[in-house]
Every structure is written in C-alpha cells, then in structure tokens.
Symmetry: C2
Subunit: 230 residues, 2 copies
C-alpha cells in the first residue's frame, strides 16, 4: 500500500515551542524572568497533566485548560505570585503563537501537492487553527486529540487518522521528532518518519540523530519531501 | 459578540452537486442515461438515508456508504442492473469531485483573511478533503457530521463548531442555501447567512430569494464577503 496521507506531531516537530513560549514570557513578564527556564518548567508539566486525563482522574480537558492550570503552578514555583489572571490567560495563548522551524512551510508546501496533510497533535483544535493561520501551515484538515477526546499515546488518536481519511493505517505516515510518539503510531499500523530536531530543548538535551525503527529518519521537512519524491 | 468563524453547508451551498454528479454519470454510464434525472433521484434518497442513522435504525454510517447503498436502488429503479460493482464504487466518488459555484473560491479567499472557515457538512471527512483539494477550497479545518457521528440537523453537529473552535455560538456564522439548515443552526445559538443558489435544482425548483429569519441573505460568497467587510 502506498502512503496517501502524512500526519504530524506539532510541538517540537513542526514548531519551536521553547523559543516561542520564551518570547511570550519575556513580552508579558519582562526581562527579569528566566524565560527559557520558565518555558522548560511549563513544558515539563505537559505529560503529567495529560496523564491525569488519560488515567481518568480528570474528565476530558482541552490542552489550553491544562496549560492554564499548570501555568499557575509554574508561576508559584518561580515566586511570581502577583501575575494577574488576565496576563496568565494571555500567556497561555503563547502556545497558539509558536513559530515553525524554518524548513517547515517550504517542506509542507511541497508535500501537500502529493499527500493529504494534517496535524495529529495533543493541542486543542482552536490552538492548532490559530497556529496554522499565523504561521501559514497548509494543512488539509485538523486531526488530533480533541477530535476523539483522547490524548496521545492513547490508540484512539492514531486510529482516528486512517478512519476519518478512509485509508488503511499503512497508507498514513506519522511524522514526529519524538521516538515514543512513533512507537505508539506503529503499534496502530501507521508508517513512521522521525525528524531530528536538535534545537527542541535549546541544545541542553539532544535527541537521537535517527530512529532505527522508523520507516524514514530525516533532518528536515525538505529532506522528508525529497525522500517521499514530493 | 463579533463573528469569528464561518461554517458552511457544502452540497448545494458551496458546490453544484447536480451538475457534478450528472457529469460523472455521463462519463461512467454513457450518453444514453438521463444523467440529471439520475442525479436528482440519487439526491432524493439523501435525507431518507441519513434519517435511518438519525433515528437509530442504522449505526453510524459515513455518507460515502449511504451514497453507495442508495446508488444500488437508483440504478435498479432506472433499469440499469448490469452496472458492475467497480463502476458503482467509482460513481460514488462523483460526490468527491463536485465543482464549486463560480463565486466560491474568490469569496472564500477574501473571507479567510478575516474569519476561520470550515465546512459543516454531512459529507464524510475523506469526501470533503478530496473535494477541497480538487477545487482549491481554502478551509482552515474540516468540521461536520463524521467528526461527531451525527447527521444534521442533529444539534450535536452545530454545537461542535463553537466547542471545537473555543468560541461562543454567537461568534459562529452558519452559511447555507437551505432554510431548514439555518433553522437548526439558530436553535443552537449560531448566527446564520442564507445564500440564494438558484441553480441547485437546475432551475426546476427555485429556492426562496431570501431567508427573512437569517442575519444575512446574499446571492454569492462575494456578496457575503462584502456584507461582512472582508
């Protein structure tokens, strides 16, 4: 079976969450805050917050609301207790305003001529739509966690892509910079492509150069388009 | 509250189903078949087929499968019993290959600069994506029946638009050429715009020129963009 659709992890794979969140922290909280450290701390609470939903401890909660709640903990731990609620709300929208890596828009534009393209992110739909409109990401449609009310790596998220696109799982290629996302996608029959994003953690923690278990390992969306003949 | 997103009925409102289906009937069944009559008959089975899902008589079934099943009845009633299954499958894809009315792409392109745009159709996601890629419809995302596994006019479909876009219902404008779609949208708090599509039924049945209950009545997506200041 030939690949017909590409679905993408977003935070880290398509966009630079660390740089974008730090930029908004500086803009809204001023230069005295360690913006990168705050971004790292906030992102560190991402998996645990979703785990509370995945385990059933919390009912379905969109990522914006999880981000907003974990921000309160981040600010408390940083001693920033006086930040007004309106600024906290605005700062939560930082996740809607992340910039894509430089290779993303040219790569997606090439890929779109040959493949259906969709994000398959844990970000809620409004977040993903705002991001796409701001950055010019040429998605054909928005898939992901909120559509099925399950967070990755729950199998429902991966299964939703071939189901809604009326394709066999082997006709869908999951693209991600995180090995564990690809492990979960492969378990549902999707093909997988690993993208090496050396800068996701600001160079402090460097991901593996390739994923030997993936169908493809690339260093950019341009290389992905090359390898897929797009 | 200001309108932030526009959601669109598709068959008849965005695309000319009658002309497109008739074109594919002629291509696949030859010139001896009354293509427009066959298109009208097929479309006539659309509401009853969805009603079987809405009433619970059938489990959730995507529109492609409903179209494929009703095609068998259409062909039987037309005495075309020898059409092979492969041709029936191909003919069902006619609904993926419908052309937009001439004002649609220029109008949507203007509207998209100011508003989030999404189809809110009973068409299944794969159908809507194929149609959009072929016709160049600049949707931000795909909403609609299959996402929530309910057919319009079930309230779940209308409710899904503001929910997934994180908007108040009054910030979402439903655009349709069918008064009953707008009645159901208003009942869920959406704003409504009526589009007069005189040619939907090939002139045999002419819809009302305006919907006095809608917020807006227009004759094209260009006029809709004018009225919305886009």
């Amino acid at each position: 079976m030939e690949v017909r659709a590409l679905v993408f992890d977003v935070f880290g794979t398509v966009v630079d969450w660390r740089g974008g969140v730090a930029r908004e922290v500086r803009r809204l909280l001023g230069p005295s805050v360690d913006a990168e450290a705050l971004a790292d701390d906030w992102r560190g609470r991402y998996l645990p917050s979703m785990e509370r939903v995945r385990s059933g401890q919390l009912p379905w909660t969109p990522l914006d609301a999880l981000h907003r709640a974990s921000l309160d903990d981040v600010l408390a731990d940083a001693g920033l207790v006086d930040v007004p609620a309106s600024v906290r709300d605005e700062l939560t929208l930082a996740w809607h305003r992340l910039d894509p890596w430089p290779d993303v828009v040219p790569g997606l534009t090439r890929l779109r001529a040959a493949y259906v393209l969709a994000p398959l992110s844990n970000g809620n739909v409004a977040l993903i739509v705002d991001m796409a409109r701001r950055a010019g990401l040429p998605w054909d449609l928005v898939l992901g966690a909120e559509i099925v009310r399950h967070y990755k790596p729950d199998p429902e998220v991966y299964d939703s892509a071939p189901r809604l696109l009326a394709l066999d799982p082997s006709q869908v290629l999951m693209v991600a910079a995180h090995v564990e996302d690809l492990v979960a996608a492969r378990a549902r029959g999707l093909r997988t492509a690993y993208v090496h994003r050396a800068g996701e953690h600001g160079g402090q923690r460097v991901p593996p150069p390739t994923d030997p278990d993936a169908d493809l390992s690339v260093r950019s969306f341009g290389e992905l388009a090359d390898r897929l003949g797009a």
